[in-house]
């Protein structure tokens, strides 16, 4: 094996680190979009209007079996055809935002279901208004079980960003592939990308575990 450190530090890292920034941007922007869409999807899913809840349910089910790269390619090809011209970056944000909306909706729904039915009934017999019921009884209890799920999904989203290199979003893997095609050296760029992903995923997993533990102790003190 022939690993060149000068190449690693002088060419690979300086070109991949900006890609890392793009990766982080895409992750958070698309996740914010997923949260908003997921919230609407969850509300539609719980709606009493049957066609709406059925449609939301089918959409979630449908998206769960669909590879993300299919969604990415679809938007990438479709948008220009219908006259919408976006930079690949924003197409990527849109694709990942839509794709992860379904799991977000499921996690939010799970959080609401984790609130015992007795809590709704207690708020009802105490004559709480709908607003007060949600604000003071339901949401505070629903948030805690939701956090670890959303955290894990965020890490998953982070790990899915390299798929955007298929449509030339300049994230880390795209940068690595460009370096490789210019220099015919695959070892350093691809290994550096792999190690960066590993470090960041492990780091964020630890972070989520800390947040989770913090929430748990808070609940215990709360009682």
């Amino acid at each position: 094996m022939d690993w060149r450190w000068d190449f690693t530090f002088e060419t690979v890292l300086p070109r991949i680190l900006p890609g890392l920034w793009v990766t982080v941007e895409v992750t958070f922007l698309s996740f914010a979009l997923s949260l908003v869409l997921g919230l609407f999807l969850m509300i539609a899913r719980r709606s009493t209007i049957r066609p709406l809840s059925v449609a939301a349910g089918e959409f979630i089910e449908f998206m769960r079996g669909m590879p993300l790269v299919v969604v990415i390619f679809f938007l990438f090809f479709l948008l220009p055809e219908i006259g919408i011209f976006l930079a690949p970056f924003w197409t990527g944000v849109l694709a990942m935002g839509i794709y992860n909306a379904a799991p977000v909706a499921e996690i939010l729904r799970g959080g609401l279901q984790a609130v015992p039915k007795g809590q709704w009934e207690a708020a009802h017999v105490l004559n709480y208004s709908t607003y007060r019921t949600w604000r003071q009884v339901i949401l505070p209890q629903a948030v805690k079980p939701v956090v670890p799920g959303l955290g894990n999904l965020l890490i998953l989203a982070f790990k899915e960003t390299p798929l955007l290199s298929f449509v030339a979003v300049p994230e880390m893997l795209d940068a690595a592939r460009r370096i490789a095609s210019e220099t015919y050296r695959f070892t350093e760029p691809l290994t550096v990308v792999g190690i960066l992903f590993l470090i960041l995923s492990l780091f964020s997993a630890v972070l989520i575990r800390l947040v989770e533990r913090h929430l748990l102790t808070e609940t215990r003190h709360g009682k």
Binding site: R64, G65, P67, T161, S165, T187
Partner: protein, 239 residues
């Protein structure tokens, strides 16, 4: 899953028929997509079997009382859960030859997909084994069950049934993962779709058919999982 597969597949077949009727262009690109589908399936099926085997080995390895076995499992699980499948695929195909190990595109795809899914599966197996009630272990102790028999006959058969729903999801994720094997130059269903799209620009039709096929594959996995769970859970009652 309470819905019967027929209730899902019949409307799907109907929709597929509708597509043929409305979009005659489907006939143009469908053969290419079906070729892609055979590649997808030929990667997915052996990968699924391999991933299950890896899940079991690494999951049990992580619970092992033998420390080196535990370390190897932990490192494997954390590395493959931490790094994107796409990066792994590139690495196996383009970097591994640098270490003197050249894999064919098919082998690299198979290994990448199954090692990735196996890392998630290992955590599922571990969770299921640990979810086994303490009383089962204690009964094994008082009945003097030898360790190997204890796992093979008592703990694993129960744990694997508990693991079926999560393993079903893992299998669907694996199936979705095969859509990335174009990274190692295989022309799978997705890659075939993209190619056809560049030839015909029938974006909506092509991607609808693509989505339908993936949906059907996922439904097949989901249905098999539900069946399996039903069969094995028949006697176990509420747990």
């Amino acid at each position: 899953m309470s819905r019967s597969p027929i209730a899902i597949l019949v409307p799907l077949a109907f929709l597929a028929g509708l597509y043929f009727a409305v979009f005659s262009s489907v006939a143009q690109f469908l053969p290419a997509l079906l070729n892609g589908l055979t590649v997808t399936v030929s990667v997915a099926v052996p990968s699924i079997l391999l991933a299950y085997a890896i899940s079991l080995l690494a999951g049990l390895g992580r619970l092992s009382s033998i420390a080196p076995l535990r370390w190897v499992s932990v490192v494997y699980i954390e590395v493959f859960r931490g790094v994107s499948l796409l990066v792994v695929l590139f690495w196996l195909y383009f970097v591994l030859p640098e270490f003197g190990l050249t894999l064919s595109a098919y082998t690299a795809a198979l290994l990448g997909v199954s090692l990735n899914a196996g890392a998630y599966g290992a955590e599922i197996v571990r969770g299921a084994v640990r979810a086994e009630p303490k009383g089962q272990y204690e009964a094994c102790v008082t009945l003097n069950m030898p360790p190997l028999r204890k796992y093979a006959r008592i703990i694993l058969p129960q744990a694997l049934v508990i693991a079926i729903p999560a393993m079903t999801n893992m299998t669907i994720e694996l199936l979705k993962g095969t859509a990335l094997v174009s990274a190692v130059t295989l022309v799978d269903l997705t890659a075939a779709g993209v190619r056809q799209n560049q030839l015909t620009y029938r974006t909506v039709e092509i991607f609808s058919v693509l989505a339908l096929i993936y949906f059907c594959l996922a439904q097949i996995v989901r249905f098999s999982g539900a069946r399996l769970e039903h069969v094995f859970n028949r006697h176990l009652g509420e747990r």
